[in-house]
């Protein structure tokens, strides 16, 4: 199932809080920038339902000012790779 990475811009002054919130979600890993108010979010889900649920959870987080998808690897690609 999909592995995706995002650039996340927190609302002003909310970087640490947002980091905690994102890290608490299942399937989410967060990498904070050391010197800027930016987070990298890597998500890993195992089904369409789970992916949709994660998206819904992200949409509810008010501390996200902007979220930008950078990369996405499909289930097919990962499965294909793992079987070769």
């Amino acid at each position: 199932m999909p592995i995706k990475s995002y650039i996340v811009f927190p609302s002003k002054g909310k970087k640490d809080l947002l980091r905690q919130q994102l890290a608490s979600l299942a399937g989410c890993e967060v990498i904070p920038a050391l010197n800027k108010d930016v987070l990298i979010l890597v998500t890993e889900t195992f089904g369409n339902h789970e992916e949709d649920a994660l998206m819904a959870s992200l949409e509810k987080i008010k501390e996200i000012e902007h979220l930008s998808l950078v990369s996405g690897y499909s289930d097919h690609a990962i499965h294909d790779h793992n079987n070769k």
């Binding site: 592995i3 995706k4 990475s5 995002y6 650039i7 890993e29 990498i31 904070p32 920038a33 050391l34 010197n35 800027k36 930016v38 990298i40 979010l41 890597v42 890993e44 930008s68 998808l69 950078v70 990369s71 996405g72 690897y73 499909s74 097919h76 690609a77 990962i78 294909d80 790779h81 793992n82 070769k84």
Partner: protein, 773 residues
């Protein structure tokens, strides 16, 4: 060995960190960048990116014979480790389920798999049979600015040196021909004088007909970074539609389609009338010419045009510009006179360094050569040229439009050095190719539009199309699709994926993709880059160059193509280099290109240096050292300021077709989408084309966002969802459609009018109407 899933997660994280670096200069993720690097058993190979003409350096990670990751090459001065979203995901297209892996021959209307030997035997036999029956000029090749340098070179040698026909064209005619004609008419030599390092030095960037934020995003990021680091850097966007570039620019100036010609002349009017000139530069390095006017638009088959340049003086040129006073031009272009004066003041300020970047808005233009000339006029009047941070710079859209199409010369009129009409050029080619001089014809035959018209008329009976998808990218595909499907022409198509062009082929040859072969590309800044084959192509797929060689050998030209299968790319490049030996265009040896991320010609072997700024004797070894600047492409060493007037577009909106149609691209997709639409993340981001409509027009017509509408021209129609207030914003009375979607063929509606000098079609202007479906 690292688990694949963990590896992909790490790669995804690295992609995001790298992308963040393009958006937030100086950002650090120190811990993650230093540690936990993806698996150590990955081998990284350098290459230029497969997509646009920027030529970003990529590092491709391979593991167990498979390409598994891509990252930006931090050692490549083009992109300094940055990549765009297409660059990061490029290798994912190779695993598309519908990849062409076996040759296919159409039998009784159905494709059947055959061996590569059978397919190549048939191609050679058909080509020979056609030549015997209808003559040499009944066969043609149509190649690409995505062909590697060796691929383009053997195509030229095969058609012009072996068979003896100039029926060789390439898709760069659709994107770069006006830039070439502009450079040749003004400077006598093709390709930009500057390089990307100009970005670090310029104070003002004028982006003219060019949505760089989407089409050349890495260069645009470098420009934004420059603006962040230095004060007083300005980006001016001159366009006919509001784009992401406009939004990031300091000033967005919108003009009416075709108004660019008048704006450039109005800027020159201001420069002269305010005495913002570099008189010393003009006196020493510039002459003035005028050419024919009222050229026509090439709308009829077999259209012919020959310019008649005539020397004039500065006073004649000044008098001509009186028609372009900013207040007069305001009505014609919609640009307020004060904005034109402001632009002129920026160009005219001796304390500001100015770079002008342009791409398809200027080139895909029925007066494209003129538009290029007019931008050069501005830089020549102000002496802002061939110096760090000062210069006009034409950007390219394909990875080797410069390296292959322009330098190898895969156009009907070109040879690897010079043109077919020049006796010395033919003699040099005959000598290096070891063919009789008389075999190379001295007249060009068909430029791209005319080549497909000749197929429609039945004059061309065989065509081999390599690495391009003309039935999506040509203008007026509504004529040329049925033309190519006619039984009168035997069609061979080599490609990596099925496309609307392979759909009409009699033979489909599976081609090796980018990293499945070794090759060389040449980017927009005269940089030649080499890469090694990294993985095996699937099935029977072969490099295009090798397929050409195999067919040539079958046709009795084995002696001319003595290359080895394993090293043919190297042997061909070494042969090709001989054409450009000398100070003006010396190309770096392969040993150098294998070690570093390219070199910019003319390459100085004594010092191991690239020439970053041509025509400036401080940098360029080809200059006369007694001069500060030497435009040595011209016999007198002087560049030309051309008197080029405004002339209207061939088709303008009227009561029946009231909208201008503009076509172009989006950041997620590259050209006809045959690769990027097979990359899931890019396809999902923009799964189909759309038609941008101004909100006021949409309201007036009762059209809502996403509602399906029909775009209709005098030539054809297509149905697309409307896009209102989304990515781009056309001006009222104009619509915009990206052309990447083979299911919504907007080029069925476009006009096959072209610049009579460059023969490049205008994809940016024709008249359409919009109807609700």
């Amino acid at each position: 060995m690292m688990n694949r899933r963990i590896f992909i997660k790490k790669t995804a994280a690295f992609s995001a960190m790298a992308a963040a670096a393009t958006m937030v200069p100086g950002i650090l993720f120190a811990h993650e960048q230093k540690h936990d690097n993806p698996a150590s058993d990955i081998t990284w190979h350098k290459a230029p990116c497969r997509f646009c003409g920027v030529g970003c350096g990529i590092l491709v990670g391979t593991q167990a014979g498979r390409a598994v990751a891509v990252k930006g090459d931090p050692n490549c001065s083009v992109n300094k480790g940055l990549l765009c979203v297409k660059g990061y995901h490029q290798i994912m297209c190779t695993s598309a389920s519908d990849r062409l892996t076996k040759p296919l021959i159409k039998k009784n209307g159905k494709y059947v798999e055959v061996t590569m030997k059978e397919a190549l035997d048939l191609v050679a036999a058909k080509m020979q049979e056609t030549i015997k029956k209808y003559g040499k000029d009944s066969v043609a090749m149509y190649t690409s600015g995505q062909s590697t340098i060796p691929e383009g070179y053997v195509a030229s040698k095969f058609m012009k040196g072996a068979i003896g026909t100039n029926n060789l064209e390439c898709n760069a005619r659709l994107c770069m021909a006006s830039a070439v004609a502009g450079f040749l008419t003004t400077f006598g030599a093709d390709e930009p004088m500057g390089c990307y390092e100009d970005i670090e030095h310029a104070d003002v960037f004028v982006l003219w007909g060019n949505n760089m934020a989407e089409m050349h995003p890495v260069l645009f990021s470098r420009m934004l970074d420059n603006r962040l680091r230095r004060k007083n850097v300005k980006i001016i966007d001159l366009a006919t539609r509001t784009t992401r570039t406009s939004k990031a620019a300091d000033i967005s100036i919108l003009f009416k389609p075709q108004g660019d010609l008048a704006i450039a002349n109005a800027i020159c009017y201001e420069l002269i009338n305010n005495n913002w000139l570099d008189k010393n530069f003009i006196e020493k390095h510039v002459v003035f010419f005028k050419g024919k006017t009222g050229l026509g638009y090439g709308l009829e088959d077999k259209f012919a045009f020959k310019d008649e340049p005539e020397a004039i003086d500065f006073d004649q040129y000044k008098a001509f510009l009186n028609d372009y006073r900013p207040d007069k031009v305001e009505a014609l272009t919609g640009v307020p006179a004060k904005e034109i004066k402001y632009l002129a003041a920026l160009y005219g300020d001796p304390n500001l360094k100015v770079v002008t970047y342009w791409c398809m808005g200027i080139n895909q233009h029925t007066r494209g050569t003129w538009a290029n000339n007019l931008i050069y006029n501005i830089h020549l009047l102000t002496g802002k040229i061939s110096q760090p941070g000062n210069g006009p710079f034409s950007l390219t859209g394909q990875p080797s439009a410069c390296g292959t199409a322009r330098e190898v010369g895969t156009f009907t009129h070109k040879l690897p050095k010079g043109v077919v009409t020049n006796k010395k050029s033919r003699e040099l080619a005959a000598k290096i190719w070891k063919v009789p001089y008389e075999r190379i014809p001295d007249k060009p035959t068909y430029h791209t539009t005319e080549m497909f018209r000749a197929i429609d008329r039945g004059d061309i009976r065989f065509i081999w199309i390599q690495s391009t998808n003309p039935l999506v990218s040509l203008p007026r595909t509504s004529r040329y699709r049925p033309a190519l499907a006619k039984d009168s022409c035997f069609v061979v198509v080599s490609d990596v994926f099925p496309t609307p062009t392979t759909d009409v082929a009699d033979v489909i040859l599976p081609a090796a993709w980018h990293i499945e072969k070794s090759g060389l590309y040449g980017n927009s800044e005269r940089r030649t880059q080499y890469w090694d084959k990294m993985i095996e192509p699937p099935g029977e797929a072969l490099p295009d160059a090798w397929m050409t060689i195999e067919v040539a050998r079958r046709m009795g030209f084995a002696k001319l193509f003595p290359y080895s299968k394993e090293k043919h790319h190297e042997e061909i490049y070494n042969e090709y280099r001989q054409f450009h030996a000398g100070k003006k265009h010396n190309m770096a040896p392969l040993s150098v290109l294998k070690k570093q991320s390219g070199a910019i010609w003319p390459y100085i072997e004594e010092t191991g240096r690239s020439t970053l700024w041509r025509y400036n004797s401080r940098y360029d070894p080809a200059c006369d050292t007694t001069k500060d600047f030497d435009f040595y492409g011209k016999p007198n060493g002087k560049a030309v300021i051309w008197l080029r007037p405004y002339e209207p577009a061939p088709e303008m909106p009227d009561n029946e077709y009231p909208f201008w149609l503009n076509t172009g691209r989006v950041i997620e997709h590259w050209h006809t989408g045959s690769m990027t639409r097979r990359i899931p993340v890019l396809h999902q981001a923009v799964p189909h084309a759309y038609v941008e409509i101004h909100p006021a027009d949409a309201k007036r017509l009762g059209i809502k966002h996403n509602q399906k509408v029909k775009v209709i021209s005098r030539r054809g129609q297509t149905v697309l969802p409307a896009s209102v207030n989304d990515r781009g914003l056309p001006t009222p009375g104009q619509v915009f459609v990206p052309f990447f979607d083979e299911n919504m063929l907007i080029n069925d509606t476009t006009l096959d009018a072209f610049c009579p000098i460059s023969k490049e079609p205008d994809f940016k202007k024709c008249a359409v109407r919009i109807e609700k479906v």
